[in-house]
Structure formats: C-alpha cells, structure tokens
C-alpha cells in the first residue's frame, strides 16, 4: 500500500498502524492523532512526520491541527497527569485552592512536570462531574469533593503506585 512495501513488514510502527486503519476514511487526521496520543501520551515530532507522509498531507497540516486543540501534547507529560477541573461548579467550590496546594506541594506551576518526571499538573475545563465538585483527576481516576488537605495523601498514593512499578521492573 505505502511505498517500500512497509505494510508487509510484520511489525508496524504505531503511526503506520494508525495510518493504515484510517487512511481511507474521511475526516481521519484527528482520529489518527488520538490513537498516537492515547498510546504515547503525546505526539512526538518523528511520528507527526510519519503521519504526514502516510496520510499524504503536508507536515504543516498535521501541526496546524496538533497545536489548535488543547487535547494534544507535543512533549511527554509526567507519569501521573493531575488534571484539576476548573469548570464553574469546581471553581466555586474551591478549585483555585486545590491548584494552589498542588503547586505548593509539587513545587511546579500549571502545565509543568516535576523534575523527576512523576507528576504533570494541568487545569482542565469541566470533567463533567459537577455534582462532585471540586474534582481532581489523576490518570483518569477521579477524586470528587476534594479538599486541599487531601492533596498530600493523593500524591502519596500515586508515588506508591510508581514505587511498586519500579520494583516490578
């Protein structure tokens, strides 16, 4: 299908696999980028280039899309991505205090990753758990009705998860 008969090789790169699945479908570029981001947590430059070639679109088109949407990341995030919901309900019920506490505990700002690569802190618009405001989500696990006093415990919980993973390695 693609030049050089790449598709016949048994082990395709993630980008090649996503391109193969989507290239004949309409409106596929964003879906391809989603597949990459879901696997790698971000879209590396090399992968973006591979996608551009495979989908036969200019690299600029790929970056135009990547940089427009908040969801796509160009750099690897930390192992644990902490998303503080800053939707209206959460804002009213103390999201700013949660952000301040996380910034203090992690010694980083919003959109930054801790030097050890463990935690990435970001603010997101409404995770849709307004009944549980204020909410924090860590790698998809949601902590509802969160209080600044719980922050340390949540961080400790995730540090423990990664310590166990290290031991497993």
């Amino acid at each position: 299908m693609t030049e050089g008969g790449k598709t016949t090789s048994p082990k395709l790169s993630p980008a090649a696999r996503a391109v193969k699945k989507w290239r004949r479908k309409r409106g596929a570029l964003i879906m391809v980028l989603h597949e990459i981001q879901n696997q790698a947590g971000f879209v590396p430059r090399e992968t973006a280039r591979e996608i551009a070639e495979g989908m036969e679109v200019p690299l600029a088109r790929v970056y135009e899309v990547l940089t427009f949407y908040n969801y796509f990341k160009l750099r690897p995030p930390g192992k644990a991505v902490i998303s503080v919901c800053t939707g209206t309900a959460c804002h009213l019920k103390g999201a700013p205090e949660l952000v301040a506490e996380l910034e203090k505990e992690l010694e980083i700002g919003q959109g930054e990753t801790t030097p050890d690569g463990l935690f990435h802190l970001q603010c997101v618009r409404c995770v849709g758990c307004c009944g549980l405001a204020p909410a924090i989500s860590v790698n998809g696990k949601i902590y509802g009705k969160a209080a600044p006093s719980q922050v340390r415990q949540i961080l400790a919980e995730w540090r423990a998860v990664f310590r166990e993973e290290d031991v497993d390695d």
Binding site: F72, T88, G128, G131
Partner: protein
C-alpha cells in the same frame, strides 16, 4: 439480514426480566463511577452469589439517575413493581453487602412488605422529595432505568418503534411536519426550530446529505449531553435515523468530546448492536432506507460547539468557524447539505414520533415546548441532572428541586448558559424556563448548565472567570474576539483586584459592545454576556471595587 421483529425482541426481553424476583439498578455513569460505583457493583455481584441470589436478582448498570451529589446510588425494585421503591445514597461496598443480607434477602423470603432495618433506612433517599416528584422525564426516561449497553432493554422500553412507525407509515415530509408541529427547538443553546432546520436540509440539492450529532458539550458546569449519551445512546441513534430519513441523508456523524471516553465507548457499542440487529446499514427494516453512523472525536476546543467550526473539526481540520451563509443546511460537511443537531434535541425525537406532536407541544410555554434537561450544580443542596417542563420557574428548580442553598448562606444568583450566558439574580427567580425570557434578562438558555451562587461569590470575579475561559478558547480568527476579549479581561482583573477606576469600567462596556457587534461567530458575540449581566444586576459590587481619584 433478516428483518428484526421488534415486538418479539421486546417480548423476550420482558419475559426474561419477569423471571427475576428483583432488579437492582446501580448507577454506572461517570459521576457515580467516580464516587466508587464500580466497587459497589463488584460487591453487589459477590454478595448476591454468596447468598445464592445470582440467578434470581438482576443487576442493572444504568445511566445517570440524577442525584449525582449523593452517589453512588443503588435502586431496588422488588417483585415486579414498576420503578424503584428504595433508593440508597452514598453506597459503599460494605453497605452494599448489608443491603443484600439485611434488606433484599429477608424481603424476598418474606414475600411481602418488609420493614427496612433502621441502620439501613438512614441511607435511603426519600422518594417523595421534590427532586424526584417535580421532574418530568422524556429525554431521561430510560437513563437510570435500563442498561444502556443492551439494545434489548431499549427495545423492550419501546425503543426503535418510532423508527419502525415512520418507515412504514410516514413520508419524509410528514416526519418533518410532525417535528415542526411539536415545537421542538435546538437544545444546544441556539433554540432554532428543529423542523425548520430539517426542512432546509431536505430542500437543499445534493446527492449526499449528512446528519451530525453535536456532542461537543463544552460549557463548564454542564453534562447533560454526556449523561444522555452514556445513559441512553440508542435514543440518540434512533433520533439520528429519523432525522436521516426525514432530510434524505445517508449517514450520521457523532462528534463527541474526547474528554468523555465512557460516552464514546457506549455509543460505539450501541452502534455495533444496532448494526447487528439490522437497525443500521442497508435496507433498514426491509425498506429501501439505508443509513449508518460514524464517530469522530473532538480534541478540546470550545469553539467547536459552533456548527461551522464543528464541521471543520469532523473533517479532521482546525476547528475555526466560517461566515454564514452558506448555512450548513446548504453547504456543510464536505460541502454537502448537512443538518447539525444537538444530542438532547435528537434524543427528544423518538418520543415525539411515538407520542405525537400534540402531546409534546402540550408541555411548556407559548414559544418553548417540551422539557429541558439541566445540570443543576453549585451551591444547591441537591445537585445533579434534572429534567423539567419548559415554563417551570427558576424558583421551583432552585428552591424545590434543588432544595435551596447548600451552604446555609442566602442564594444570590443563578448562572445559565455557561460562558455565553449570564446571571439571573434571585429577585427574578419567578422567571419561567423559556428561550425568550432568559434572553430578555441578558442570559441565554444555553445547553443547560445551571449554577447556583450564594452570597460568598463575587460577581466581578465570576465574570472574569468566564471571560478568561472564552479568551482562552477564542480561535483567534477575528480581531474583536481575539483582541477585545483579552483587553476586557485585563481590565476586569484589574477591577476585581481593587485597582481599577471608573474609566476602566466604561472601557469594559465599550469593548463589550464592540465584541458583540464585530465578532464572527457566537463565541465572540456572546462572550461579553457574563460581564454585561453581572454589571446589569450587581453594578454596586463593581462600583465598590473601583478606586476613586482621591485614593
């Protein structure tokens, strides 16, 4: 594919359900899963099998039951009664085991009325509170009752009968006529008459036509569409099928926020089941109508809720809006006639066809018909997802259904319509829910976020909060929105910090006017709403923050 016999499927499903001596519904929507309903479900299954009840009692993972602030929720239906007689709140695995051992088991053994032990009854929600009794569920009728991952349950609840009815009895024209007579208007916020939109798309020339379901629910503080997609995906699919038949479209495209993974998963599962039953694909129900659906994901851009931006995004491009006309009904997705409808709008359609336009138009006010789903959040005692007939007053919603203030402080205002909406002060709580009334007051109906604010919330700060959102989400294409928003936000922050003066405030007003008139799309045109409406009703708060020249 052999034609599916809906009556037979429904009959078999009802017979299967009838064999069970009890049904336990466990809310499996994002809200309750976040509060631990996954663990509750595991404990429930384990407890049932250890008591030998696994075959007698059916566990139903359902969509949103509504009262998210008190989740996880567990509903018990014992002995073939219709609807829950017991609804447990804030359930955990231990409580679940106790409910099975001390309530369910003895009830089944006693075979009649069984007094709930006191240590359990304190966890029961009274079902006669206005939160439950004052609602009118059309769109949410199935959410919280059926398992959204089983098409048989949707069919048993009367699902896909509306589709069958129109394919057998009605011309596309007659379907459009029926929807137009129902008075249904766009539930995404615009309030454009759905029948007119369908008519325009049907009248446009084009070999290929599209139905697009707008599930890019971006308003912070709103999660109606997510809950509908999670709780009753087949209703939306059936709505799309009916819309597709009416306007002459061959395919339907779901555009859903990537931040809603569970909704995406349930929709994809539902599509697969509908295809498997011959309800999507070629020659549906033995007619010459063919239609299928695809899913495309958003990627975190609020502006994509605007229909021309949304279409660009479905095509896989940057989601920037373009000037209209041409309207999507003339030239939309891939330049073909397209009809963009919101999730809740489409979910209303099967009920309208089943029960008739007259029935639907019988609910609501002169100009706003039917019901509306709201996400009631903020400082309300009972917060969650509610559905009320149009025309219900804000007072009924906030004071009765919402149970008043959760903080003990008196309430101050209600925010509706998200970043494009405004605040309505408590002095105007007797306003009925209606598109025009909300607009007169400087807010909008919006998609259905309703945020209750109390005396502790500063209006200037709230205005700055919303404006910061729209500034952040401005796509940057037109100058009034890109530059005006930023300048206005800087001024507002200055004022909120007590550093502004009277000149700054009048500059805010001028910028607001410029954005409103000069912006290309709805995002920029409505961005000043939160500022204007807080200024309109709470000008004193702003004035108190201003520095006088003597300072």
């Amino acid at each position: 594919m052999t034609e599916p016999d809906l009556k037979k499927i429904a009959g078999e499903e009802l017979a299967r359900q009838g064999e069970k001596s009890a049904r336990i519904a466990c809310c499996a929507s994002t809200g309750c899963l976040s509060s631990g309903s996954g663990e509750v479900m595991e404990a429930l299954l384990e407890a049932l099998s250890s008591h030998g009840l696994a075959d007698k009692v059916e566990v139903v993972p359902t969509g949103c039951m509504g009262l998210c602030s008190h989740g996880p929720l567990l509903g018990l239906e014992i002995g073939g009664e219709d609807g829950f007689r017991f609804l447990y709140q804030e359930v955990n695995p231990l409580l679940t085991r106790l409910i099975v051992a001390e309530h369910l088991l003895p009830s089944l053994e006693a075979g009649g009325d069984f007094p709930v032990p006191e240590f359990l009854s304190s966890h029961l929600l009274p079902l006669d509170i206005p939160f439950f009794t004052r609602q009118e569920k059309v769109v949410l009728a199935n959410a919280g009752r059926i398992n959204p991952e089983r098409i048989e349950e949707y069919i048993a609840a009367g699902g896909y009968r509306a589709l069958e009815k129109i394919l057998r009895e009605k011309t596309p024209d007659a379907v459009i006529e029926e929807v137009a007579r129902s008075g249904l208007r766009g539930r995404g916020g615009g309030g454009y008459p759905t029948g007119v939109k369908w008519r325009n798309t049907a009248d446009s020339r084009g070999g290929e036509k599209f139905i697009i379901c707008n599930g890019d629910e971006g308003d912070p503080g709103a999660y109606m569409d997510r809950s509908i997609l999670e709780g009753d995906p087949h209703a939306v699919i059936e709505g799309m099928l009916i819309a597709g038949y009416a306007v002459g479209a061959q395919s339907g495209w779901f555009y859903i926020r990537a931040e809603y993974p569970l909704a995406v998963e349930r929709v994809e599962k539902a599509l697969k089941q509908a295809r498997g039953r011959g309800l999507l694909g070629k020659n549906i129900l033995g007619t010459d109508f063919s239609f299928d659906c695809r899913v495309r994901l958003g990627a975190g851009a609020f502006v994509c809720g605007e229909e021309t931006a949304l279409l660009a995004s479905v095509e896989g491009k940057r989601g920037t809006p373009r000037p209209r006309p041409p309207y999507p009904s003339q030239s939309g997705l891939w330049d073909s006639p397209s009809c963009v409808n919101n999730v809740e709008t489409l979910a209303n359609v099967p009920a309208i066809i089943r029960q008739g336009a007259g029935w639907y138009a019988g609910m609501g006010t002169e100009t706003s018909k039917g019901t509306k789903v709201f996400a009631l959040t903020g400082k309300a005692r009972y917060s969650g997802l509610i559905e009320v007939p149009m025309g219900t007053t804000l007072r009924e919603i906030v004071e009765e259904i919402g149970g008043g203030s959760s903080s003990g402080r008196p309430l101050k205002a209600i925010q509706t319509g998200g970043p494009s909406g405004g605040v309505i002060p408590v002095s105007l709580l007797d306003t009925p829910v209606c598109y025009e009334k909300f607009q007169e007051l400087g807010s909008i109906m919006g998609s259905g976020g309703m945020i209750v604010m109390d005396g502790a919330d500063s209006m200037a700060e709230i205005a700055a909060f919303y404006l910061e959102f729209t500034v952040d989400e401005s796509c940057g294409k037109c100058a009034p929105c890109r530059i005006g928003g930023k300048q206005m936000l800087d001024l507002l922050k200055k004022i909120a910090a007590g550093e502004g003066n009277a000149r700054d405030l009048s500059q805010v007003r001028r910028l607001s006017e410029a954005m409103r008139r000069g912006s290309l799309c709805g995002l920029g045109q409505t961005a000043p709403n939160p500022v204007d409406s807080t200024l309109r009703y709470f000008e004193g708060e702003y004035l108190n923050l201003l520095k006088t020249d003597d300072d």
